[in-house]
Protein backbone atom coordinates (compact mmCIF):
# COMPACT_ATOMS: atom_id res chain seq x y z
CA UNK A 1 0.00 0.00 0.00
CA UNK A 2 1.60 3.21 -1.08
CA UNK A 3 1.26 6.26 1.10
CA UNK A 4 1.38 9.73 -0.37
CA UNK A 5 1.25 13.15 1.30
CA UNK A 6 0.20 16.08 -0.90
CA UNK A 7 0.86 19.55 0.53
CA UNK A 8 -0.30 18.53 3.96
CA UNK A 9 -0.52 21.25 6.60
CA UNK A 10 -1.81 20.69 10.09
CA UNK A 11 -2.37 23.35 12.69
CA UNK A 12 -3.39 22.33 16.17
CA UNK A 13 -6.33 24.12 17.71
CA UNK A 14 -4.35 25.43 20.58
CA UNK A 15 -4.63 27.91 23.40
CA UNK A 16 -1.11 28.97 22.75
CA UNK A 17 -0.88 30.43 19.24
CA UNK A 18 2.90 29.97 19.20
CA UNK A 19 2.79 26.20 19.38
CA UNK A 20 -0.03 25.85 16.86
CA UNK A 21 1.73 24.62 13.75
CA UNK A 22 2.22 20.87 13.65
CA UNK A 23 2.97 20.31 9.98
CA UNK A 24 3.71 22.76 7.16
CA UNK A 25 3.20 21.87 3.52
CA UNK A 26 4.59 18.34 3.57
CA UNK A 27 4.62 16.37 0.33
CA UNK A 28 6.20 12.94 0.07
CA UNK A 29 5.74 9.33 -0.94
CA UNK A 30 6.33 6.38 1.33
CA UNK A 31 6.98 3.30 -0.75
CA UNK A 32 5.08 0.07 -0.32
CA UNK A 33 6.93 -2.65 1.64
CA UNK A 34 9.86 -0.34 2.35
CA UNK A 35 11.50 0.46 5.68
CA UNK A 36 11.32 4.22 6.13
CA UNK A 37 12.87 6.06 9.07
CA UNK A 38 11.76 9.52 10.17
CA UNK A 39 14.21 11.57 12.22
CA UNK A 40 14.21 15.12 13.59
CA UNK A 41 14.37 17.02 16.85
CA UNK A 42 11.66 16.77 19.50
CA UNK A 43 8.78 18.95 18.36
CA UNK A 44 9.77 18.86 14.70
CA UNK A 45 6.46 17.27 13.68
CA UNK A 46 7.29 13.58 13.34
CA UNK A 47 4.40 12.30 15.41
CA UNK A 48 2.03 14.77 13.80
CA UNK A 49 3.10 13.48 10.38
CA UNK A 50 2.48 9.80 11.07
CA UNK A 51 -0.81 10.37 12.87
CA UNK A 52 -2.26 11.49 9.56
CA UNK A 53 -1.67 8.08 8.04
CA UNK A 54 -4.33 6.38 10.17
CA UNK A 55 -6.46 9.53 10.40
CA UNK A 56 -5.94 10.10 14.13
CA UNK A 57 -5.32 13.62 12.87
CA UNK A 58 -6.81 15.13 9.77
CA UNK A 59 -5.00 17.68 7.61
CA UNK A 60 -5.95 21.34 7.90
CA UNK A 61 -5.26 21.48 4.18
CA UNK A 62 -3.88 19.06 1.62
CA UNK A 63 -4.57 15.34 1.38
CA UNK A 64 -3.09 11.96 2.23
CA UNK A 65 -3.51 8.88 0.07
CA UNK A 66 -3.22 5.51 1.78
CA UNK A 67 -3.74 2.86 -0.87
CA UNK A 68 -6.99 3.91 -2.55
CA UNK A 69 -8.20 5.71 0.51
CA UNK A 70 -7.95 9.52 0.49
CA UNK A 71 -7.91 11.54 3.72
CA UNK A 72 -8.84 15.20 3.35
CA UNK A 73 -9.86 17.88 5.85
CA UNK A 74 -13.47 16.84 5.20
CA UNK A 75 -12.93 13.14 5.94
CA UNK A 76 -15.66 11.82 8.20
CA UNK A 77 -14.82 10.24 11.55
CA UNK A 78 -17.03 7.29 10.72
CA UNK A 79 -15.87 4.24 8.85
CA UNK A 80 -12.20 4.66 9.69
CA UNK A 81 -11.85 1.10 11.01
CA UNK A 82 -10.76 -0.47 7.71
CA UNK A 83 -8.01 2.15 7.46
CA UNK A 84 -6.92 1.63 11.06
CA UNK A 85 -6.84 -2.12 10.58
CA UNK A 86 -4.50 -1.67 7.61
CA UNK A 87 -2.29 0.84 9.40
CA UNK A 88 -1.13 -0.41 12.79
CA UNK A 89 0.51 2.07 15.13
CA UNK A 90 2.84 1.45 18.05
CA UNK A 91 2.99 4.58 20.19
CA UNK A 92 5.80 5.86 22.30
CA UNK A 93 5.55 3.99 25.64
CA UNK A 94 2.82 1.71 24.26
CA UNK A 95 2.66 -0.13 27.59
CA UNK A 96 0.32 2.62 28.81
CA UNK A 97 -2.43 1.27 26.55
CA UNK A 98 -2.67 -2.14 28.27
CA UNK A 99 -5.87 -2.65 30.24
CA UNK A 100 -7.23 -6.20 30.05
CA UNK A 101 -6.80 -8.68 32.91
CA UNK A 102 -4.72 -11.11 30.86
CA UNK A 103 -2.06 -10.63 28.23
CA UNK A 104 -4.02 -12.85 25.85
CA UNK A 105 -7.15 -10.70 26.06
CA UNK A 106 -5.13 -7.56 25.58
CA UNK A 107 -3.49 -8.85 22.42
CA UNK A 108 -6.89 -9.98 21.14
CA UNK A 109 -8.45 -6.56 21.80
CA UNK A 110 -7.37 -4.95 18.51
CA UNK A 111 -8.21 -7.88 16.23
CA UNK A 112 -11.66 -8.24 17.83
CA UNK A 113 -12.39 -4.54 17.36
CA UNK A 114 -11.57 -4.98 13.70
CA UNK A 115 -14.08 -7.81 13.41
CA UNK A 116 -11.71 -10.76 13.41
CA UNK A 117 -13.52 -13.80 14.90
CA UNK A 118 -12.65 -14.83 18.48
CA UNK A 119 -10.86 -18.04 17.52
CA UNK A 120 -8.69 -16.40 14.88
CA UNK A 121 -7.86 -13.60 17.28
CA UNK A 122 -6.77 -16.15 19.88
CA UNK A 123 -4.60 -17.92 17.33
CA UNK A 124 -3.04 -14.56 16.42
CA UNK A 125 -2.32 -13.89 20.11
CA UNK A 126 -0.58 -17.27 20.47
CA UNK A 127 1.45 -16.62 17.35
CA UNK A 128 2.39 -13.01 18.07
CA UNK A 129 3.48 -13.52 21.68
CA UNK A 130 6.22 -15.78 20.30
CA UNK A 131 7.04 -13.35 17.49
CA UNK A 132 7.81 -10.64 20.06
CA UNK A 133 10.06 -13.04 21.97
CA UNK A 134 7.92 -14.10 24.94
CA UNK A 135 6.72 -17.61 25.66
CA UNK A 136 3.07 -18.66 25.56
CA UNK A 137 3.10 -18.94 29.37
CA UNK A 138 2.79 -15.18 29.50
CA UNK A 139 -0.66 -15.24 27.88
CA UNK A 140 -2.45 -16.06 31.15
CA UNK A 141 -0.63 -13.46 33.21
CA UNK A 142 -1.82 -9.98 34.02
CA UNK A 143 -0.10 -7.37 31.84
CA UNK A 144 0.44 -5.24 34.94
CA UNK A 145 2.69 -7.86 36.55
CA UNK A 146 5.23 -7.71 33.72
CA UNK A 147 8.42 -5.68 33.54
CA UNK A 148 8.49 -2.52 31.42
CA UNK A 149 10.25 -4.25 28.54
CA UNK A 150 7.84 -7.18 28.59
CA UNK A 151 4.85 -4.85 28.63
CA UNK A 152 6.28 -3.10 25.60
CA UNK A 153 6.52 -6.44 23.78
CA UNK A 154 2.93 -7.33 24.67
CA UNK A 155 1.76 -3.97 23.35
CA UNK A 156 3.64 -4.53 20.11
CA UNK A 157 2.14 -8.02 19.81
CA UNK A 158 -1.28 -6.39 20.24
CA UNK A 159 -0.67 -4.24 17.19
CA UNK A 160 0.83 -7.01 15.07
CA UNK A 161 -2.08 -9.32 15.88
CA UNK A 162 -4.46 -7.31 13.69
CA UNK A 163 -2.17 -8.13 10.77
CA UNK A 164 -1.79 -4.55 9.49
CA UNK A 165 -0.19 -3.96 6.09
CA UNK A 166 1.66 -0.90 7.34
CA UNK A 167 3.22 -0.64 10.78
CA UNK A 168 4.04 2.77 12.21
CA UNK A 169 6.44 2.84 15.13
CA UNK A 170 6.73 6.07 17.13
CA UNK A 171 10.00 5.81 19.06
CA UNK A 172 9.31 2.17 19.93
CA UNK A 173 12.63 1.51 21.64
CA UNK A 174 12.83 4.60 23.87
CA UNK A 175 14.04 3.56 27.32
CA UNK A 176 14.86 -0.05 26.44
CA UNK A 177 18.21 -1.73 27.17
CA UNK A 178 20.55 -2.27 24.19
CA UNK A 179 19.87 -6.00 23.88
CA UNK A 180 16.12 -5.48 24.06
CA UNK A 181 16.39 -2.69 21.53
CA UNK A 182 18.24 -4.82 19.02
CA UNK A 183 15.75 -7.68 19.43
CA UNK A 184 12.84 -5.36 18.81
CA UNK A 185 14.48 -3.70 15.82
CA UNK A 186 15.26 -7.13 14.33
CA UNK A 187 11.63 -8.03 14.86
CA UNK A 188 10.52 -5.05 12.79
CA UNK A 189 12.99 -5.91 10.03
CA UNK A 190 11.56 -9.42 10.00
CA UNK A 191 8.07 -7.99 9.67
CA UNK A 192 9.25 -6.03 6.65
CA UNK A 193 10.67 -9.19 5.11
CA UNK A 194 7.21 -10.74 5.61
CA UNK A 195 5.86 -8.07 3.27
CA UNK A 196 4.91 -5.22 5.57
CA UNK A 197 5.61 -1.54 5.16
CA UNK A 198 7.52 -0.16 8.16
CA UNK A 199 7.62 3.48 9.18
CA UNK A 200 9.89 4.14 12.13
CA UNK A 201 10.34 7.34 14.11
CA UNK A 202 13.61 7.27 15.99
CA UNK A 203 16.41 9.34 17.46
CA UNK A 204 18.88 6.50 17.08
CA UNK A 205 20.96 7.11 13.98
CA UNK A 206 22.55 3.67 14.17
CA UNK A 207 19.14 2.07 13.89
CA UNK A 208 18.43 4.25 10.87
CA UNK A 209 21.71 3.24 9.22
CA UNK A 210 21.28 -0.45 10.02
CA UNK A 211 17.63 -0.96 9.20
CA UNK A 212 16.13 1.74 7.00
CA UNK A 213 16.10 2.05 3.22
CA UNK A 214 14.70 5.55 3.12
CA UNK A 215 15.22 8.35 5.58
CA UNK A 216 13.12 11.46 6.08
CA UNK A 217 14.40 14.46 8.04
CA UNK A 218 11.85 16.72 9.73
CA UNK A 219 12.63 20.19 11.01
CA UNK A 220 10.31 22.94 12.28
CA UNK A 221 7.18 21.16 11.01
CA UNK A 222 8.66 20.81 7.53
CA UNK A 223 10.10 17.87 5.63
CA UNK A 224 13.67 18.99 5.06
CA UNK A 225 15.20 16.02 3.25
CA UNK A 226 14.34 12.57 1.88
CA UNK A 227 16.80 9.99 0.58
CA UNK A 228 18.75 6.87 1.37
CA UNK A 229 20.51 6.94 4.76
CA UNK A 230 23.81 6.84 2.90
CA UNK A 231 23.02 10.05 0.98
CA UNK A 232 21.50 11.86 3.92
CA UNK A 233 24.36 11.09 6.32
CA UNK A 234 26.75 12.41 3.70
CA UNK A 235 24.82 15.69 3.35
CA UNK A 236 27.15 18.24 4.91
CA UNK A 237 24.48 20.95 5.05
CA UNK A 238 22.15 18.84 7.22
CA UNK A 239 25.06 17.93 9.49
CA UNK A 240 26.24 21.52 9.83
CA UNK A 241 22.75 22.64 10.79
CA UNK A 242 22.65 19.78 13.33
CA UNK A 243 19.41 18.41 11.89
CA UNK A 244 20.92 14.94 12.02
CA UNK A 245 23.86 13.38 13.82
CA UNK A 246 26.09 10.61 12.48
CA UNK A 247 25.94 6.89 13.26
CA UNK A 248 28.92 5.56 15.21
CA UNK A 249 30.58 3.96 12.20
CA UNK A 250 30.55 7.27 10.34
CA UNK A 251 32.00 9.09 13.36
CA UNK A 252 34.76 6.49 13.51
CA UNK A 253 35.41 6.86 9.78
CA UNK A 254 35.70 10.63 10.20
CA UNK A 255 38.42 10.09 12.79
CA UNK A 256 40.21 7.63 10.53
CA UNK A 257 40.02 10.16 7.73
CA UNK A 258 42.32 12.39 9.78
CA UNK A 259 44.87 9.56 9.85
CA UNK A 260 45.51 8.91 6.18
CA UNK A 261 42.37 6.95 5.44
CA UNK A 262 40.20 8.18 2.57
CA UNK A 263 36.46 7.68 2.28
CA UNK A 264 34.55 8.69 -0.82
CA UNK A 265 31.43 8.70 1.21
CA UNK A 266 31.16 8.00 4.91
CA UNK A 267 30.38 4.35 5.71
CA UNK A 268 27.32 4.24 7.94
CA UNK A 269 27.23 0.65 9.18
CA UNK A 270 29.82 -1.53 10.87
CA UNK A 271 29.91 -3.84 7.83
CA UNK A 272 30.55 -1.01 5.40
CA UNK A 273 33.19 0.42 7.71
CA UNK A 274 35.09 -2.88 8.14
CA UNK A 275 34.93 -3.60 4.41
CA UNK A 276 36.41 -0.17 3.67
CA UNK A 277 39.15 -0.54 6.28
CA UNK A 278 40.06 -4.03 5.05
CA UNK A 279 40.25 -2.80 1.52
CA UNK A 280 42.37 0.20 2.37
CA UNK A 281 44.81 -1.81 4.51
CA UNK A 282 45.19 -4.90 2.33
CA UNK A 283 43.55 -3.88 -0.90
CA UNK A 284 45.80 -1.67 -2.94
Amino acid sequence: MQIEFKNVTHSYESNNPLSGLGLADVSCKIEDKAFTAIVGKTGSGKSTLVRHINALLKPTSGEIKVGDRVITPETNNKNLKPLRKQVGMVFQFPESQLFEDTVEKDIMFGPKNFGIPEEEAREAAHKMIKVVGLSEDYLDRSPFDLSGGQMRRVAIAGVLASDPETIILDEPTAGLDPVGRKEIMDLFKEQQQNGKTIILITHNMDDVANYAETMMVMHDSRLRAVGTPKDIFNDQDLLDKKLISLPQSAVFAQKLAKKNFKFESLPITINELTAEIKQQIHGE
Binding site: E13, S14, Q97
Partner: protein
Protein backbone atom coordinates in the same frame (compact mmCIF):
# COMPACT_ATOMS: atom_id res chain seq x y z
CA UNK B 1 -10.85 18.13 25.69
CA UNK B 2 -8.05 20.67 25.76
CA UNK B 3 -10.61 23.24 24.65
CA UNK B 4 -11.69 23.68 28.24
CA UNK B 5 -10.82 27.28 29.06
CA UNK B 6 -12.43 27.67 32.45
CA UNK B 7 -9.75 26.53 34.88
CA UNK B 8 -6.79 27.24 32.62
CA UNK B 9 -4.08 29.79 33.23
CA UNK B 10 -2.91 31.98 30.36
CA UNK B 11 0.52 33.54 30.84
CA UNK B 12 0.43 37.32 30.54
CA UNK B 13 0.93 40.59 32.33
CA UNK B 14 -1.45 43.39 33.24
CA UNK B 15 -2.90 45.05 36.33
CA UNK B 16 -5.27 42.11 36.86
CA UNK B 17 -2.38 39.63 36.73
CA UNK B 18 -0.50 41.62 39.35
CA UNK B 19 -3.31 41.82 41.90
CA UNK B 20 -2.84 39.83 45.06
CA UNK B 21 -4.38 36.40 44.34
CA UNK B 22 -6.09 36.31 47.74
CA UNK B 23 -7.87 39.53 46.94
CA UNK B 24 -8.74 38.36 43.43
CA UNK B 25 -10.08 35.10 44.77
CA UNK B 26 -12.30 36.71 47.40
CA UNK B 27 -13.44 39.51 45.11
CA UNK B 28 -14.47 36.99 42.46
CA UNK B 29 -16.69 35.20 44.97
CA UNK B 30 -17.97 38.48 46.30
CA UNK B 31 -18.84 39.60 42.77
CA UNK B 32 -20.67 36.34 42.06
CA UNK B 33 -22.63 37.06 45.23
CA UNK B 34 -23.66 40.58 44.25
CA UNK B 35 -24.68 39.47 40.75
CA UNK B 36 -27.80 38.20 42.49
CA UNK B 37 -28.57 41.72 43.73
CA UNK B 38 -29.21 42.94 40.20
CA UNK B 39 -32.89 43.03 39.44
CA UNK B 40 -33.48 45.29 36.47
CA UNK B 41 -32.04 46.15 33.10
CA UNK B 42 -29.92 49.07 34.33
CA UNK B 43 -28.31 47.09 37.10
CA UNK B 44 -27.50 44.18 34.80
CA UNK B 45 -26.13 46.58 32.21
CA UNK B 46 -23.97 48.17 34.91
CA UNK B 47 -22.52 44.81 35.96
CA UNK B 48 -21.92 43.81 32.33
CA UNK B 49 -20.11 47.08 31.81
CA UNK B 50 -17.92 46.39 34.83
CA UNK B 51 -17.09 42.86 33.70
CA UNK B 52 -16.22 43.99 30.18
CA UNK B 53 -14.08 46.75 31.66
CA UNK B 54 -12.26 44.19 33.82
CA UNK B 55 -11.74 41.95 30.77
CA UNK B 56 -10.46 44.96 28.86
CA UNK B 57 -7.85 45.96 31.42
CA UNK B 58 -6.76 42.35 31.85
CA UNK B 59 -5.44 42.53 28.26
CA UNK B 60 -6.68 38.99 27.65
CA UNK B 61 -8.37 38.60 24.28
CA UNK B 62 -12.17 38.39 24.61
CA UNK B 63 -12.11 35.29 22.39
CA UNK B 64 -10.79 33.24 25.32
CA UNK B 65 -13.85 34.18 27.33
CA UNK B 66 -16.19 33.30 24.51
CA UNK B 67 -14.42 29.95 24.09
CA UNK B 68 -14.84 29.49 27.85
CA UNK B 69 -18.60 29.67 27.38
CA UNK B 70 -18.64 26.85 24.87
CA UNK B 71 -18.56 23.85 27.21
CA UNK B 72 -21.38 25.44 29.27
CA UNK B 73 -23.49 26.26 26.23
CA UNK B 74 -26.01 23.43 26.63
CA UNK B 75 -26.49 24.12 30.31
CA UNK B 76 -27.06 27.81 29.58
CA UNK B 77 -29.47 27.18 26.71
CA UNK B 78 -31.39 24.63 28.74
CA UNK B 79 -31.81 26.95 31.72
CA UNK B 80 -32.72 29.91 29.54
CA UNK B 81 -35.30 27.85 27.61
CA UNK B 82 -36.75 26.57 30.86
CA UNK B 83 -37.24 30.13 32.10
CA UNK B 84 -38.61 31.33 28.77
CA UNK B 85 -41.20 28.59 28.32
CA UNK B 86 -42.22 27.80 31.87
CA UNK B 87 -42.65 31.22 33.43
CA UNK B 88 -46.35 31.44 34.28
CA UNK B 89 -48.06 34.54 32.93
CA UNK B 90 -51.53 35.88 32.37
CA UNK B 91 -50.71 37.33 28.98
CA UNK B 92 -48.83 34.70 26.97
CA UNK B 93 -47.80 35.78 23.46
CA UNK B 94 -47.81 32.18 22.33
CA UNK B 95 -48.72 28.93 23.94
CA UNK B 96 -49.01 25.26 23.14
CA UNK B 97 -49.94 22.53 25.60
CA UNK B 98 -48.00 23.29 28.79
CA UNK B 99 -45.53 25.61 27.07
CA UNK B 100 -46.13 29.31 26.99
CA UNK B 101 -44.08 32.25 25.94
CA UNK B 102 -44.65 35.60 27.53
CA UNK B 103 -42.95 38.94 27.76
CA UNK B 104 -42.16 38.39 31.45
CA UNK B 105 -40.72 34.96 30.70
CA UNK B 106 -38.48 36.34 27.97
CA UNK B 107 -37.22 39.14 30.21
CA UNK B 108 -36.39 36.70 33.01
CA UNK B 109 -34.70 34.37 30.53
CA UNK B 110 -32.64 37.30 29.29
CA UNK B 111 -31.58 38.15 32.84
CA UNK B 112 -30.61 34.54 33.52
CA UNK B 113 -28.55 34.57 30.37
CA UNK B 114 -26.72 37.74 31.45
CA UNK B 115 -26.17 36.24 34.89
CA UNK B 116 -24.48 33.22 33.32
CA UNK B 117 -22.28 35.49 31.19
CA UNK B 118 -21.30 37.56 34.23
CA UNK B 119 -20.45 34.60 36.42
CA UNK B 120 -18.59 32.62 33.75
CA UNK B 121 -16.64 35.64 32.53
CA UNK B 122 -15.55 36.74 36.01
CA UNK B 123 -14.49 33.24 37.05
CA UNK B 124 -12.72 32.69 33.75
CA UNK B 125 -10.94 35.99 34.38
CA UNK B 126 -9.75 34.70 37.75
CA UNK B 127 -8.41 31.41 36.41
CA UNK B 128 -6.90 32.86 33.25
CA UNK B 129 -4.91 35.47 35.17
CA UNK B 130 -4.04 33.50 38.31
CA UNK B 131 -1.78 30.46 38.31
CA UNK B 132 -3.22 27.36 39.99
CA UNK B 133 -0.39 27.62 42.53
CA UNK B 134 -1.41 31.16 43.41
CA UNK B 135 -5.00 30.00 43.83
CA UNK B 136 -4.04 27.22 46.19
CA UNK B 137 -1.72 29.58 48.09
CA UNK B 138 -4.60 31.98 48.55
CA UNK B 139 -6.91 29.23 49.70
CA UNK B 140 -4.31 28.21 52.23
CA UNK B 141 -3.96 31.77 53.41
CA UNK B 142 -7.72 32.29 53.63
CA UNK B 143 -8.22 29.03 55.54
CA UNK B 144 -5.43 29.80 57.99
CA UNK B 145 -7.73 30.73 60.89
CA UNK B 146 -9.06 27.14 60.81
CA UNK B 147 -5.74 25.98 62.29
CA UNK B 148 -7.17 26.90 65.64
CA UNK B 149 -9.58 23.98 65.39
CA UNK B 150 -6.71 21.67 64.24
CA UNK B 151 -7.77 21.68 60.59
CA UNK B 152 -4.71 20.55 58.52
CA UNK B 153 -4.63 23.68 56.37
CA UNK B 154 -1.21 23.28 54.80
CA UNK B 155 -1.75 19.61 53.90
CA UNK B 156 -5.08 20.42 52.30
CA UNK B 157 -3.46 23.26 50.36
CA UNK B 158 -0.67 20.95 49.23
CA UNK B 159 -3.17 18.32 48.10
CA UNK B 160 -5.03 20.99 46.23
CA UNK B 161 -1.97 22.33 44.44
CA UNK B 162 -0.82 18.85 43.49
CA UNK B 163 -4.28 18.04 42.17
CA UNK B 164 -4.33 21.26 40.14
CA UNK B 165 -0.85 20.57 38.84
CA UNK B 166 -1.96 17.18 37.58
CA UNK B 167 -5.04 18.27 35.69
CA UNK B 168 -3.22 19.22 32.46
CA UNK B 169 -1.00 16.15 32.81
CA UNK B 170 -4.01 13.87 33.09
CA UNK B 171 -5.70 15.56 30.14
CA UNK B 172 -2.61 14.93 28.00
CA UNK B 173 -2.41 11.36 29.24
CA UNK B 174 -6.09 10.79 28.42
CA UNK B 175 -5.65 12.09 24.90
CA UNK B 176 -2.63 9.86 24.42
CA UNK B 177 -4.42 6.75 25.66
CA UNK B 178 -7.50 7.53 23.57
CA UNK B 179 -5.34 7.83 20.46
CA UNK B 180 -3.64 4.54 21.22
CA UNK B 181 -6.99 2.76 21.65
CA UNK B 182 -8.42 4.41 18.54
CA UNK B 183 -5.48 3.01 16.61
CA UNK B 184 -6.52 -0.40 17.97
CA UNK B 185 -9.98 0.06 16.53
CA UNK B 186 -12.04 1.60 19.34
CA UNK B 187 -14.75 4.00 18.18
CA UNK B 188 -15.53 6.48 20.90
CA UNK B 189 -19.02 7.94 20.74
CA UNK B 190 -20.44 5.34 18.40
CA UNK B 191 -23.00 2.62 18.97
CA UNK B 192 -25.54 2.25 21.76
CA UNK B 193 -25.25 3.48 25.33
CA UNK B 194 -23.79 0.22 26.66
CA UNK B 195 -21.21 0.11 23.90
CA UNK B 196 -20.26 3.71 24.58
CA UNK B 197 -19.83 3.13 28.29
CA UNK B 198 -17.81 0.00 27.56
CA UNK B 199 -15.51 1.95 25.26
CA UNK B 200 -14.34 3.96 28.27
CA UNK B 201 -12.91 0.94 30.10
CA UNK B 202 -9.82 0.89 27.85
CA UNK B 203 -9.19 4.53 28.80
CA UNK B 204 -10.01 4.48 32.47
CA UNK B 205 -7.91 1.49 33.47
CA UNK B 206 -4.65 2.72 31.89
CA UNK B 207 -5.41 6.18 33.26
CA UNK B 208 -5.78 4.83 36.81
CA UNK B 209 -2.66 2.74 36.48
CA UNK B 210 -0.57 5.66 35.29
CA UNK B 211 -2.06 8.08 37.85
CA UNK B 212 -1.09 5.73 40.65
CA UNK B 213 2.41 5.32 39.33
CA UNK B 214 2.81 9.09 38.88
CA UNK B 215 1.52 9.68 42.41
CA UNK B 216 3.88 7.07 43.80
CA UNK B 217 6.88 8.58 41.99
CA UNK B 218 5.92 12.03 43.17
CA UNK B 219 5.68 10.91 46.79
CA UNK B 220 9.16 9.37 46.60
CA UNK B 221 10.58 12.45 44.89
CA UNK B 222 9.10 14.70 47.59
CA UNK B 223 10.36 12.57 50.45
CA UNK B 224 13.83 12.32 48.97
CA UNK B 225 13.92 16.11 48.89
CA UNK B 226 13.04 16.22 52.56
CA UNK B 227 9.35 17.02 52.51
CA UNK B 228 7.81 16.97 55.95
CA UNK B 229 4.25 18.06 56.52
CA UNK B 230 2.89 20.12 59.32
CA UNK B 231 3.98 23.27 61.08
CA UNK B 232 7.11 25.27 60.52
CA UNK B 233 7.35 25.05 56.74
CA UNK B 234 8.48 28.33 55.28
CA UNK B 235 7.05 29.77 52.08
CA UNK B 236 8.88 30.22 48.82
CA UNK B 237 6.24 32.45 47.27
CA UNK B 238 5.19 35.25 49.56
CA UNK B 239 1.95 37.04 48.77
CA UNK B 240 1.97 40.84 48.98
CA UNK B 241 -1.06 42.96 49.65
CA UNK B 242 -0.44 46.37 48.12
CA UNK B 243 -2.13 49.67 47.39
CA UNK B 244 -3.73 48.49 44.16
CA UNK B 245 -5.42 45.69 46.09
CA UNK B 246 -6.86 48.24 48.47
CA UNK B 247 -8.11 50.17 45.46
CA UNK B 248 -9.92 47.11 44.06
CA UNK B 249 -11.63 46.59 47.39
CA UNK B 250 -12.77 50.22 47.34
CA UNK B 251 -14.00 49.75 43.77
CA UNK B 252 -16.01 46.69 44.85
CA UNK B 253 -17.60 48.64 47.68
CA UNK B 254 -18.45 51.44 45.27
CA UNK B 255 -20.00 48.93 42.87
CA UNK B 256 -22.11 47.47 45.64
CA UNK B 257 -23.38 50.91 46.62
CA UNK B 258 -24.19 51.85 43.01
CA UNK B 259 -25.89 48.51 42.54
CA UNK B 260 -28.06 48.97 45.62
CA UNK B 261 -29.01 52.39 44.28
CA UNK B 262 -29.80 51.05 40.79
CA UNK B 263 -32.00 48.30 42.23
CA UNK B 264 -34.69 50.78 43.11
CA UNK B 265 -34.39 52.55 39.76
CA UNK B 266 -37.57 52.10 37.74
Amino acid sequence: MNKLILGRYLPGDSLIYRLDPRGKFLITFYFIGIVFLANNLVSYAFLLLFVFFAVYISKVSISFFIKGLRPMLWLILFTVMLQAFFTPSNHPIWHWAFLSLSKEGLVIAGYIFIRFILIIFISTLLTLTTTPIEISDSIESILKPLRVIKFPVSQVALMLSIALRFVPLLIDETIKIMDAQRARGVDFGEGGLIKRIKSFVPILIPLFVSSFSIAYDLAIAMESRGYKDGEGRTKYRILHWSKRDNITVVVMIAITVVLLFLRSYK
